[in-house]
Amino acid sequence: MSTIRAAAAGAVVMSLALAATACGGGTSTDGEGSNKSPKTLTYWASNQGASIEVDKKVLQPELDKFEKETGIKVKLEVVPWSDLLNRILTATTSGQGPDVLNIGNTWSASLQATGALLPWDQANFAKIGGRDRFVDSALGSTGAQGKDPAAVPLYSMAYALYYNKQIFADAGIAQPPATWAELVADGKKIQAKGKQVLGAEGANVSENVHHVFVFAKQHGADFFTADGKPDFTSDGAVSAVKQYVDLMAKDKAIPQGNAEYAQNQSVSDFAKGKTAMLLWQSASANLKSQGMSEDKYGIAPVPVQSGTPGTGTQVNSMVAGINLAVFKNTDNLDGATQFVKFMTGDEEQKILNKAYSTIPPVASAQTDPGFNSAANAVLKDTLAKSAAALPQVADESQFETVIGTAVKELFADAAAGRAVTTESVKAKLAKAQQQMPTK
């Protein structure tokens, strides 16, 4: 009898314990930040190098340096891009996340709206050396206008036109194209030599958005009105999207096969010398890892409609980059701030941006001669003069999804040989707009 009773009691206790522990999960770290565990930090880095392993090799020595200086141990996790946003959303929802993390700078306003990230007000900026350390273009992509930034810039990137010198020489092209018309014309010469003209990631939602955003700027259009309402079907927006898709549908510059690319196959094609041109951000490190040395390709500004790159309709890149954010509920607020100061300090900025072939968003680090190569000159110039930030609205993430998907479907039409007309583009964009949140 006693054994039965013991068994019964055991069963009850066990089930209660299970219930208790399972329920005790996500409640511990709600609320504001504290300094309860001043000796450790968790850091989620985005995947900047050719692989996760490369990132660990780049970052770990720097984190060790930080530990030596401050005694704070930083636990590093490099999160692949395919998972990063989901992981951040999960961390936001559960309150169980890292202390410091990298975010794609275009997500800043969306994540800012969740209220999970530490706002960088005057006082917080003062702790890391002041707002003035950062260049304006980079600060323009850190959150909605008129609000304290949700993150600080860490690495800056811009789109550029990468071109294969050998293919250009074979086709008798002396200068990289400066306008889209020139690009299409050069394309004919390149095709005559049996090479593909321009690589694109037609099924990659984010890439599509980055490109049509720039085209929209060049057509004098914006995807959002001044008060943040979606406006996808303006004439400018429609012509912009059509012009980009027409690079495949009409001009045949982008090969049809690229319509299904989403895993950076276009970069591989370029590295292998199959494609003559590529529009990409900071591709140098990636190309090198795929065996294409720097003397094989040239870097030029992304083409415009006419004239030279500048502001307004002469914009030829988005402000691409990575921001560094602190989760508001961190249990090591001072340490997290110190870490941000360390990562945005001149020395680390130089080391890390060189390793990732990006441009430092910190003005004083940009002067380093290491960032004066021809490649970086183009990127620096673009960022300073002719790059625009993607819409800094709370619905940015949805915007990327619906517009990127619309362009993907249009590319699929073009690849299948179906006509891409002003009407079909407008219909797709109208559908995309209807999918945007209405509140």
Binding site: M1, I4, R5, A7, A8, A11, V12, M14, S15, L18, A19, A22, D30, N86, L89, T92, T93, G95, S110, L111, A113, T114, G115, A116, G202, A203, V205, Q256, G257, A259, E260, A262, A394, S397, Q398, T401, V402, G404, T405, K408, E409, F411, A412, D413, A415, A416, K431, Q434, Q435, P437, K439
Partner: protein, 328 residues
């Protein structure tokens, strides 16, 4: 709690002979099995029911990025999320309906083919011959492979420029005028169906094979004596005997295929082509990618209701059918 309750059993038949005295601890003994079940029950609650209830609660909330940090503050939206989901004239509802119909078509085809191939293979593997064990093991490979690894291999094979499928169909057999796209556009439906059947039929094969072992050999011998051919044996003996197995098999295959997320997600990424826009990925996109967890939950609840209805009707119809055949 049952363990501590001491209930005296009332004497009903006081007259004739003394009723057996309720032995102490009897109720405890009756209660014990339930007690031992308790941990499992609590876990079941935690793992299945609690998330389901939370999901249902979420579907009545306006849970966008502005509120996910603290769900409590998300405003109640009543039936708004459901209205948006089933308003088939508006884009969200229309897309959901389209996705739903695609999923139904896909599921019926996939389950049908899986069952057909699986059953055929199982029947062929029934006779002993050299290499049978090897073949049986080989047939199970697609089922045993990790989903991601298997599907990503298919992605490579379906590539337009240098995929194996186009190489065979176009370069070798010249069946098409030009290489086809399999991962975008309308063909994506067939690509998805191919992978799904390839991945699913070994399970049907395994289950039917197990079912076949229970059919007594004498039945076939008797039928052969009566002059029944192979085909008649299959129709008159094998298939009817497999009835109970098939009932469960088809239901399970239906539910798995209908809810399959991994295959379309690995094949097409987060934005599936319209022709292959399965409902699980569609809901994922409606909630995770556009950060509207309320609408996503509402769609999930609708899906749950639909699957419950299908399961209920299916079980009612099939078991009535079987009872009727038993009565005969």
């Amino acid at each position: 709690m049952t363990t501590t309750a001491e209930v005296e059993k009332p004497r009903t038949d006081a007259g004739s002979e003394p009723a057996p005295r309720p032995r102490p601890g009897r109720i405890r003994r009756i209660g014990l099995p339930y007690l031992l079940l308790l941990p499992a029950l609590v876990l079941e609650l935690l793992v299945h029911l609690v998330p389901m209830v939370i999901g249902i609660v979420m579907s009545f909330k306006e849970l966008t990025q502005f509120y996910i940090r603290d769900w409590g503050t998300a405003p109640w939206s009543g039936l708004d999320n459901y209205k948006v989901s089933v308003d088939f004239d508006a884009p969200v509802g229309e897309a959901l309906l389209h996705s739903f119909l695609v999923t139904i078509g896909f599921t019926l085809l996939s389950v049908g083919l899986c069952w057909l191939i699986g059953t055929a293979a199982a029947i062929f593997m029934q006779d002993t011959f050299r290499g049978r064990g090897l073949l049986r093991a080989l047939f199970l490979v697609p089922y045993a492979l990790p989903v991601y690894a298997a599907v990503i291999t298919w992605v490579f094979m379906f590539q337009h420029d240098n995929g194996l499928v186009n190489h065979v169909l176009h370069d070798q057999l010249h069946l098409t005028d030009k290489p086809s796209f399999w991962l975008i556009g309308d063909n994506s439906f067939y690509a998805l169906l191919t992978v799904s059947v390839w991945k699913g039929w070994p399970f049907a094969f395994l289950i039917v094979m197990a079912g076949l072992q229970n059919i007594p050999g004498e039945l076939y011998e008797a039928a052969a004596l009566d002059g029944a051919g192979r085909w008649q044996q299959i129709r008159r003996i094998t298939l009817p005997s497999l009835g109970a197995v098939n009932q469960v098999l088809l239901l399970v295959l239906f539910l798995w295929t209908f809810n399959d997320f991994n295959t379309p997600f690995v094949l097409f990424g987060r934005a599936a082509p319209e022709a292959a826009d399965l409902i699980s990925v569609h809901i994922y996109q409606a909630s995770f990618v556009t950060w509207n967890f309320g609408t996503g939950s509402a769609m999930s609840v609708l899906l749950l209701l639909f699957l419950l209805a299908v399961t209920g009707v299916y079980l009612a119809v099939t078991s009535r059918g079987r009872r009727a055949s038993h009565a005969r």
